[in-house]
Amino acid sequence: PWSAPLVQAATGKPGTTIRVGTTVPAGAIDPVTVGDTGGLLMLQQVGEFLVFDQQDLRLAPMLATSWKPNQDGSVWTFTLRQGVKFHSGKTLTADDVVATIDRLADPKNASNALSVFKGVLSKGNTRKIDDHTVAFHLDAPNGNFPYHISSDNYNAIILPADYQGDFEKTWDGTGPFRIEKYTPKVGASFVPNPDWWGGRVLPARTEFSFYTDQQPQVLALQGGQIDIVSQIVVQGAQGLLGDPDISIIKIEAATHRQVHMRCDIPPFNDKRIRRAMALTLDRPAIVTGLFRGLSDLGNDSPFAPVYPSTNKSVAQRRENIAEAKALMAAVGSKGFSVTLTTEQYQEMPDYAVLIQNAAKEIGIEVRLKIEPQDAYYGSAVFGKSDWLDSPFGMTDYGHRGTPDVLLAAPLMSGGSWNAAHFRNPAYDKLVAEFVAAVDLSSQRAIAGKIETLLLEETPIIFAYFYDFLTATRKGVTGAEPTAIAQLFLQSASAG
């Protein structure tokens, strides 16, 4: 039987305490609202999803044992696992699933999953067939629907039907660990759930310490005060990469930066200039310099190499200054100056500097405006957000299990994250086709067309998709992170 979302076999020593450093949860731990890595990591310690999105981006059963679409992919039916118990002792039934998903799809609920379900699943369309079968009636056919309610959708941990919004009191999930103690802003500890359906839980205890910054976590790991840093980025962790006492768990992911160029206003309203800009970047060098190679190259579309649906036959864009200059000349531009607005986050300032230097080659003078994240996003609606309003900007996007959302919101006409103000009916149509496609080969075919179109238009530069990295002390085994910063520890051992 499928036991746990585990790649490595549980060979570690049982009964150890695993100490994890992670980002401090930004607010109350409520599965409905949580939207930050610290919070979702807490949810996932006690809660479980219907399906689990594995490191290779294929789905595995979790609380659902099987699922299938109807013919056109507009209705998906899930069969639930039998004999699963919540920590409170209650048995999991279809009612719990219906209530959980409906809660997340309800626009009145401050649900963080609302943007995922938008145009996919509406409130009231999740229906109980019997105690262990649930059917999802979608707004439109969707070949990738199971991903939307998988561990990819970190809000979608299954809660009891009578959940009151008091998660921090109950921590009532079905997972391998139950809460021991949670102190906001400080840390949390968990102990094994003896009734877990998946069998034996290896550690005796897990302890999470919250940090506001990566550096102290790195230092704490090196100082031996924690065993795992749940997520590291290469910047500031170069020291760990060569450290013989440290192991790095690397997961290929679709995490990336979108460098948008507004297609509706100068200076980037001509697609040749946008292409010229994209041609200045030496992507392999960037990947080496910023990520020590721990990254895939981007080809200016959301199709990351990690996605099975990505069409790899489309040629990779490379640095080509001559062509870029030619394009500039064709437009009659001798260069201009423009401000690149971006966030104070991870490697982004460095990347911005590299863009700045690269653009110089074709006479584009880039000024940098690097803001704190909240200032950059502002109110996150058009007209009140540097993110959505700036002519030239760079935004951080986390990993997604499928490219669907990334194809739609940032690029489709009227997309709510369409900072590039890109409007292309042909593209919109292709995306609709892609989303509805149920089998991989047709998905790949459509992907090829989309990739080609985006290379031609280049509203957004996707230069890289970097790997998700978790650092552990040597001797830590069995810890399994996901590319969205979850961390499964039921098989972990601290040696």
Partner: protein, 321 residues
Amino acid sequence: MRSGWGAWFARRISLSLLTLFLLSLVVFAGGQLLPGNVGRTILGPLADARAVAALNHQLGVDRPAIVQYLGWIGGLLHGNMGESLEFRSPVAPFIGAALVKSLKLAAVAFMIVVPLSIGGGVVAALKAGTAIDRTISLAGLSLTIIPEFVSSIVVILLFGIWLRILPISASWPEGAGPLDQLRHLIPPAIPLVVIQFGYIARMARAGTIEALEADYTRTAILKGLPRALVVQRHVLRNALLPTITVIATQTAYLVGGLVVVETLFRYQGIGSLILTAARGKDFPMLEGGILTVGAVYIGATLIADALAVLVNPRLAPEMTG
């Protein structure tokens, strides 16, 4: 003068309350300037606008600002500091915990720096002009100007990573005893000591030199008192008054201003609490945190002033002014 104390305290306290009230207004007005809104901050930039609106409504931050402020201050008058918007639970426990932590760190820093710097300053003054004096003064000057983030990193690398003799996180494990807590507090206290040492030592030195040249010291010397007694009884009592005041004014910084140190040493003091509250637009938390720092500062200066009067009753008439 005795009856003056009551009036003095009453006046000081009412002035302090006025200050705190103004402070809360300033913070509130300042908070309005912060970009974005709470709902957006909690749910993140990519969340659906309907969810954001729903959350803002739930939290009551879609009401007019003045209504929110009045509601908050009304609660405060009933001893209720309000609920955190981000954590959706009362702010008092958060602030209480952070305050205790900040005070502990400040106390440890003071415990190290006060004897060290006053001792240093006094010795420098007694040996004024000698090599000892110059060494102490120069050390003070050099240390004071090392930015916290520089000295903190040095401390972490040196004691935490290379020598491994001190923890690199200031947060002690659950249930740690006082000694263990102290061990955890020493590393973050070091940068603070480094910054404060020169400042306090300099004050102590100047005060001591002045008192050493004062007529009353001459009077004492002429009484034939042993030098140690002259210094202890006549010089130090007067010399250290300004130093006390200086130390008191440092509390605002030590209790609320340690963003860098708290971040680097992973310590959940008031400084980082205020900062995260501000970035999260968590207004009740922000108000509570800042008012707490304000109250600590005002309290410390009050105590310092009262102490000064106790030590030197001549300052008492000023109390009425």
